[in-house]
């Protein structure tokens, strides 16, 4: 659920702006013919007002775009499922997403022409086809068709979301992710389309820096997620939680510290309680994961070091057998997005 919210917010902020920069021209030109057509018939209007009906074509355009991207999400999610993504592969994918995002940001900031290769350029035959369609007569078909065609010119942020859809490894989650993202971009598209004609170039230059800066931040977060998935102790999330925990953490430690070889971890919407577990070294340990009405990504539970990954039921109990560990070993665990983390310390 959380990652859907993140996708929606990404859509309504950076995604909307960056997609508008790439696909706005397509929408504007499909609207232009509608406006011309309406102006031509304006003389027949009984009220005598000239009001191009652009709300309908914009809605058609955006609905079509939403449907096509949702289908794409399902396809990419399915692809991720077929590829059987392990935590390590997921981490690599996250690193690639990070590189892609930061590369795109550097491209937008025009740091060096080499970064232009971070954007996907369709062959000129495809762009010519899209352009021709966009100039043809205004009808309900044109915006619907052009909305669907946006799938061929995804903007940088969309491309990252597509990679994230692959990483979900499930058609439904992939579809939901791209649906949430595209839905987020829609209000931005709708609002900006009202100021359409001159917007393309202006918007692009004005907002490009904000988009680039946001991409760099998102890129760093994606990199951090990759580190978490590999169980690295040096990720920003882990360092930050180490600083934050302190005293409150000790109390929960006392409650759960037991000398026998079984541990209990409560999986809640906001992560794992407690975040630090202590276990005896040298003996097999059974970790019981308890969920109760959990609907966040904390349900996708991983222990990278022992290559353990599971999607827990919303409510239920799951036992993980951990092989004997050397004294002093720290086993980090995380959710599949790398947002929620914790660790088991073998020091008893």
């Amino acid at each position: 659920m959380t990652n859907l919210v993140v996708a929606f917010i990404t859509g309504i902020t950076t995604g909307g702006l960056s997609c508008m920069a790439v696909q706005g021209g397509l929408l504007a030109s499909s609207l232009a013919s509608q406006i011309e057509q309406d102006l031509a018939y304006a003389g027949k209007d009984s009220k005598g007002t000239i009001k191009p009906r652009i709300a309908l074509p914009i809605t058609l355009f955006l609905s079509s775009k939403l449907i096509v991207y949702t289908l794409l999400g399902a396809l990419l999610g399915g692809l991720g499922q077929v590829l059987q993504i392990t935590p390590t592969a997921q981490a690599i994918l996250q690193f690639m997403i990070a590189i892609f995002m930061i590369g795109n940001a550097l491209r937008m900031l025009n740091v060096h022409p080499i970064f232009r290769y971070f954007s996907f350029e369709p062959p000129s035959k495809v762009t010519r086809f899209i352009r021709r369609r966009s100039k043809s007569e205004g009808s309900w078909f044109s915006p619907l068709f052009l909305g669907a065609l946006t799938v061929l010119i995804p903007c940088g942020v969309t491309q990252t979301m597509m990679a994230a859809a692959i990483a979900t490894g499930d058609p439904l989650s992939g579809a939901a992710l791209l649906f949430a993202f595209t839905l987020g971009t829609s209000p931005v598209f709708f609002a900006l389309s009202y100021f359409a004609t001159r917007l393309g170039a202006l918007m692009e230059k004005y907002f490009i820096r904000i988009v680039a800066a946001s991409l760099i931040i998102l890129g760093i977060l994606a990199f951090d997620t990759g580190l978490n998935l590999l169980g690295s102790p040096f990720s920003l999330t882990r360092v930050a939680s180490g600083i934050r925990s302190g005293q409150a953490q000790e109390i929960s430690d006392l409650q759960t510290t037991t000398s026998d070889a079984s541990l209990t971890l409560n999986v809640v919407d906001k992560g794992y309680r407690p975040r630090k577990l202590h276990a005896p070294a040298g003996v097999p340990v059974t970790l019981t994961l308890i969920t109760e009405d959990v609907y966040s990504c904390s349900r996708a539970f991983l222990i990278p070091a022992i290559d353990y990954a599971i999607i827990l039921f919303a409510t239920g109990e799951e036992k993980v057998e951990i092989p004997p560990q050397e004294p002093g070993t720290v086993l980090p665990f995380t959710c599949s997005m790398g947002m929620y983390t914790g660790e088991i310390i073998f020091d008893l």
């Binding site: 696909q23 021209g25 350029e121 000129s124 010519r128 100039k135 692009e204």
Partner: protein
């Protein structure tokens, strides 16, 4: 028919390349425009009896880009 390559330094996204293809509609003598954001270049095939290089540069400027004549192909 002539074919000329232009350097376009101020494209900032893939969509710019698509916008440059508008030249095909603006100037009737222009047969084909192949613009690439990756390469920062535009190759124009045109009928030299109806369109001049100056026309191309002027119309490109109107679209918001600077075209620098690079070489004839």
């Amino acid at each position: 028919m002539r074919k000329i390559e232009f350097l376009i330094t101020d494209m900032h996204c893939v969509n710019c390349a698509m916008r440059l293809q508008d030249l095909e509609d603006i100037l009737p003598g222009v047969k084909k425009v192949d613009a690439s954001y990756h390469k920062g270049k535009m190759v124009v095939t045109f009928d030299e009896t109806t369109v001049t290089i100056e026309d191309l540069i002027r119309e490109t400027r109107k679209l918001g880009y600077t075209a620098i004549e690079e070489n004839a192909i």
